[in-house]
């Protein structure tokens, strides 16, 4: 599924994409050029807002921080660093011919 042109992504920011089944994916571009995709729903609030979190790092690990209650989620694994028992699903994402796709 096509998300958007790669140019639309901005470093250290996220966007949200709607999937045909109505679910949502948050897609992030980090400063080193890597693209990550996680479930957009923040498990702590239930709101579909992870794509609007601040992207950065904790101890060198790239994370997004939920804008609701500020828990950090590891971009590569979806693991919540503040509550190790919680995680969000990771989605496969690639960039092909300048287009970002979910696989």
């Amino acid at each position: 599924m096509i998300v958007c042109d790669f140019d639309v992504l901005k470093p250290e920011q996220g966007v949200a994409a709607l999937r045909p089944d109505g679910s949502q994916v948050a897609v992030f571009l980090t400063a080193d050029g890597t693209v990550h995709a996680l479930d957009n729903i923040d498990p702590f609030s239930g709101a579909a807002v992870l794509s609007r979190g601040i992207v950065g790092d904790r101890g060198g690990v790239p994370v997004v921080v939920s804008p609701v209650y500020k828990q950090a989620f590891e971009l590569a694994t979806g693991k919540c660093l503040d509550e190790p028992s919680v995680s969000v699903a990771v989605h496969q994402v690639r960039v092909r011919d300048g287009v970002v796709e979910l696989t």
Binding site: M1, I2, V3, C4, V8, K10, P11, E12, Q13, V15, A16, A17, L18, G22, Q24, V27, T30, A31, I41, P43, F44, S45, G46, A47, A48, V49, R52, G53, I54, V55, G56, D57, R58, G59, G60, P62, V63, V65, P67, V68, K70, A72, E83, S85, V86
Partner: protein, 818 residues
């Protein structure tokens, strides 16, 4: 069987006794003549700042029977019964007299005339105020305070706070004759005379007469004073009008032994009404110490009164004065080391033994910062360095030295609490040792002991920057860095996080770097700033248009109503006198704002760490009681400071008279109108830890007011920690309110011009953030829910109806293990 303790008197000392004994096996009954609960009489003059009794009130005590407004009229010691003014009879097993003192009024002819007052209780101050307000005189009012001691200067300060120019008349040849020597008093006089006081020493009032609405006082020196009010504060006398047939001390007071017990073993006396082994004390600390002695006796202990340290350190009219030990060098052969710097306005005298080895006492005026190190050294060997000109006074304090004299807390007790991990900041030290909770003068010493014990609170902003926010502010300003990436590359590590990114974005915005959603800033912003709206629990946002001062035309009100109706927004009036529209999705925000901007609205910055609103009452335009145009000023201030990014949100309010309908004293900066101009209060707070704002300047005109607010806000923005409101900032500021006043009013650091320039550029560069978004297609494009489906609403958001409006359906939150 439960025994009954009756306490006669509900002042600070009686309150202290009950505080210690509550929870014990004693049933406690308190007779309080005043109808008010116990209050902090030491801080009486501060009542004038706010006229709010609650500011002075001591913590309420549960578990005792408080008979307020009931005077104990007689005691039958044979039956062990106290009779109250209502006729009630209470039997006691132990009786504690804590009746305090009465003001001494010298027998001046005319002393009973209307307009003559004493200075002792909150009611006295209310009466003085009524006299002052009724005075019919153009310009400043004039008053006389009889007595130039500690209490007299306090009273003079209270009069100044009411807009009265005080004459202070003291019989002795100098001010504060008990505590201060001639040299110190000379400087003190010079310093207080700069503050609109006129000091007459070595004379007394020989008569007071009424002349129409005025009072004319004739002084023994031949001078005549034309006055509106007279205040007697020429000392106090132990209050012993409750006659128990007990022996009194040589200078009055119920005579008690070192255990504070009278000749009747069931009757004790404490505080100012007690003559402990014949000696009376007029300070609160010895009174507290007596309360502790009696509490211990009543609990089966054998503690006795240890004698009192009558050292004092206080700030009178902004002038530091301290006196300790043998201040007047009365010890045989005592030597004095005096440094009198008339240029700097400081005076210090150390009194040492004849061989210059032992410190005996001292007097400090103008700068008493060394008091805390010196007082504990009294009776101990004096470091030689102290006796050199300009000698360092930063000397090691012995472990048994008393740090807090109000609660008799030693250095040892404090360092133990720190080293055993019981306390690691000032607040915790206060809670577990009580040190610093009395007069508060030892708080700087508590900070110092924390540092000495190695407790160091890291000031690092986060893992990416070792600097504090204030330091980063200076770096950004000095290096003129304009991007986060350049800053972190040079002065930090890693890529940044949700702590440092918004903090740096705020610093960049405070220094004026264009629109906060500019290319390099947008990724730093928290979601509220990023969408210029407030995120709510279901992922929607709320919208708050600016309504300066809470004033709005019907036409604009209708536009808000129409927008809310058309987008189905839940509508609520906020506490800041504006209207909050809830439930907008990211896609709807630009459409909503286009309509609002077209109707003349602009961003209300409800989402930002920036100025929120300036609330106002209706002021002189409509209100029968208003004395200034509060709405006009509120609008002017809100428009001046709108959009100003700061370490945390800023709230303000303007009240048009002392009735304070706008609740200005709960704000970061609050303004209350006076007949002569405006009073500015700063660092108030509601929220978790409510704090009444402190009076910074009074009776200033609008131009001066704005100049000082400009400086105050810019100084706060430069020096506060991240997410530190002005209240916490001021609490942590070294030197507190006085230091703040020195910086932003007296310009001691010489930075005021710079602070004002910074504010001027904020004002001239201001542009509405929402208009900036609507005019820029690139910024507008970010307001979509889905990058692959613009215009499709977020399917997780749904609403239900409640009381006729739409509210969010609670989301099916997955089970999260907490």
């Amino acid at each position: 069987m439960t025994q009954t303790l009756v306490v006669v008197g509900n002042g600070m000392v009686g309150h202290r006794l009950v505080e210690i004994l509550r929870g014990s096996s004693w049933r406690i009954v308190v007779f309080g003549e005043e109808s008010r609960p116990a209050y902090d009489r030491v801080a009486l003059s501060s009542y004038v700042d706010s006229w709010t009794f609650a500011d002075l009130e001591l913590p309420a005590l549960d578990g005792c029977e408080l008979r307020l407004g009931e005077k104990a009229v007689s005691v039958d010691r044979a039956r062990k019964v106290v009779v109250g003014s209502s006729g009630v009879e209470i039997s006691y097993d132990a009786l504690v007299l804590a009746t305090g003192s009465v003001p001494f009024v010298p027998p001046v002819p005319g002393r009973d005339l209307p307009g003559c007052h004493v200075y002792r209780t909150v009611d006295d101050l209310d009466e003085i105020r009524a006299t002052v307000e009724a005075a019919d005189r153009p310009g400043r009012r004039s008053g006389m305070v009889l007595g130039g001691g500690l209490l007299g200067l306090e009273a003079a300060n209270a009069l100044r706070g009411m807009g009265v120019s005080p004459h202070v008349v003291e019989l002795a040849p100098r001010l504060m004759p008990i505590q201060v020597d001639d040299g110190g008093a000379g400087l003190l006089k010079r310093l207080v005379e700069k503050l609109d006081l006129t000091v007459h020493t070595g004379t007394s009032a020989s008569s007071i007469e009424r002349d129409g609405s005025r009072l004319i006082a004739k002084l023994a020196s031949g001078l005549e004073l034309d006055l509106d009010v007279v205040v007697f504060s020429a000392g106090i006398r132990p209050r012993t009008d409750l006659d128990l047939g007990l022996e009194l001390g040589p200078r009055g007071g119920y005579l008690v032994d070192a255990a504070c017990r009278t000749s009747d073993p069931h009757v004790f006396a404490i505080g100012e009404c007690a003559a402990v082994e014949g000696v009376t004390y007029g300070l609160v600390a010895p009174g507290y110490s007596m309360a502790e002695v009696v509490a211990d006796q009543l609990s089966g202990g054998a503690r006795v009164f240890p004698g009192a340290d009558v050292s004092t350190k206080l700030k009178l009219l902004g002038v530091d004065v301290a006196s300790f030990g043998d201040a007047h060098a009365q010890t045989e052969g005592a030597l004095e080391v005096v440094v009198n710097n008339a240029v700097a306005g400081t005076y210090s005298k150390l009194v040492v033994s004849d061989d210059a080895r032992i410190l005996l006492g001292g007097v400090l005026v103008g700068d008493a910062s060394s008091y805390l190190s010196l007082r504990p050294l009294v009776g101990k060997e004096v470091p030689a360095a102290l006796l050199q000109p300009g000698g360092a006074v930063d000397v090691e304090m012995p472990a048994d030295a008393q740090v807090c004299s109000c609660y008799a807390v030693t250095k040892q007790t404090i360092t133990d609490a720190i080293q055993h991990g019981v306390a690691c900041d000032v607040a915790e030290l206060k809670a577990c040792t009580k040190a610093g909770t009395g007069c508060g003068s030892c708080v700087p010493m508590l900070k110092k002991l924390l540092t000495e014990c190695g407790v160091e609170q890291s000031k690092a902003l986060c893992e990416h920057f070792t600097y504090s926010r204030a330091e980063l502010f200076e770096i950004v300003q000095a290096t003129q860095v304009t991007t986060f990436s350049a800053l972190i590359e040079k002065h930090g590590t890693g890529r940044g996080c949700d702590i440092c990114k918004p903090a740096v974005a705020s610093i960049l915005a405070s220094l004026g770097n264009g629109h906060i959603l500019g290319e390099t800033q947008v990724s730093l912003q928290d979601t509220n700033d990023r969408f210029l709206a407030n995120l709510q629990r279901n992922g929607t946002y709320s919208v708050v248009p600016r309504i300066p001062g809470g004033e709005i035309t019907p036409e604009k009100l209708i536009v808000i109503g129409e927008v809310a109706r058309d987008y189905g927004l839940y509508t609520k009036i906020t506490g800041g006198q504006r209207i909050d529209l809830f439930g907008a999705t990211v896609d709807q925000l630009p459409e909503i704002w286009r309509r609002l901007v077209d109707a003349g609205f602009e961003s209300g910055h409800a989402y930002g760490k920036s100025l929120r609103t300036v609330k106002s009452c209706v002021g002189t335009t409509w209100c029968r009681y208003g004395v200034q145009d509060s709405v006009g000023l509120a609008i002017e201030l809100e428009l001046r400071y709108r959009g100003l990014r700061s370490p945390h949100k800023l709230k303000s309010a303007v009240s048009g008279c002392a009735r304070e309908c706008a609740e200005a004293r709960s704000k970061d900066f609050g303004i209350i109108a006076t007949e002569n101009g405006w009073n500015l209060y700063v660092a108030g707070n509601g929220g978790f830890t409510p704090r009444h704002a402190d009076l910074l300047v009074s009776d200033v005109d609008t131009a001066e007011l704005i100049r000082i607010i400009d400086r105050f806000l810019m100084f706060y923005i430069r020096t506060a920690d991240r997410l530190q409101r002005t209240a916490a900032w001021l609490e942590g500021l070294d030197g507190g309110l006085d230091h703040l006043r020195e910086v932003v009013v007296e310009d001691k650091l010489g930075i005021c011009a710079e602070l004002e320039t910074a504010m001027e550029s904020h004002v001239s560069d201001y542009a509405d953030e929402w208009r900036g978004v609507l005019e820029d297609p690139e910024k507008l494009a970010r307001f979509t829910s889905f990058v692959n489906a613009p215009g499709v609403p977020d399917p997780t958001i749904s609403f239900r109806a409640e009381r006729g409006q739409r509210v969010p359906v609670s989301l099916g939150i997955p089970e999260v293990v907490r």
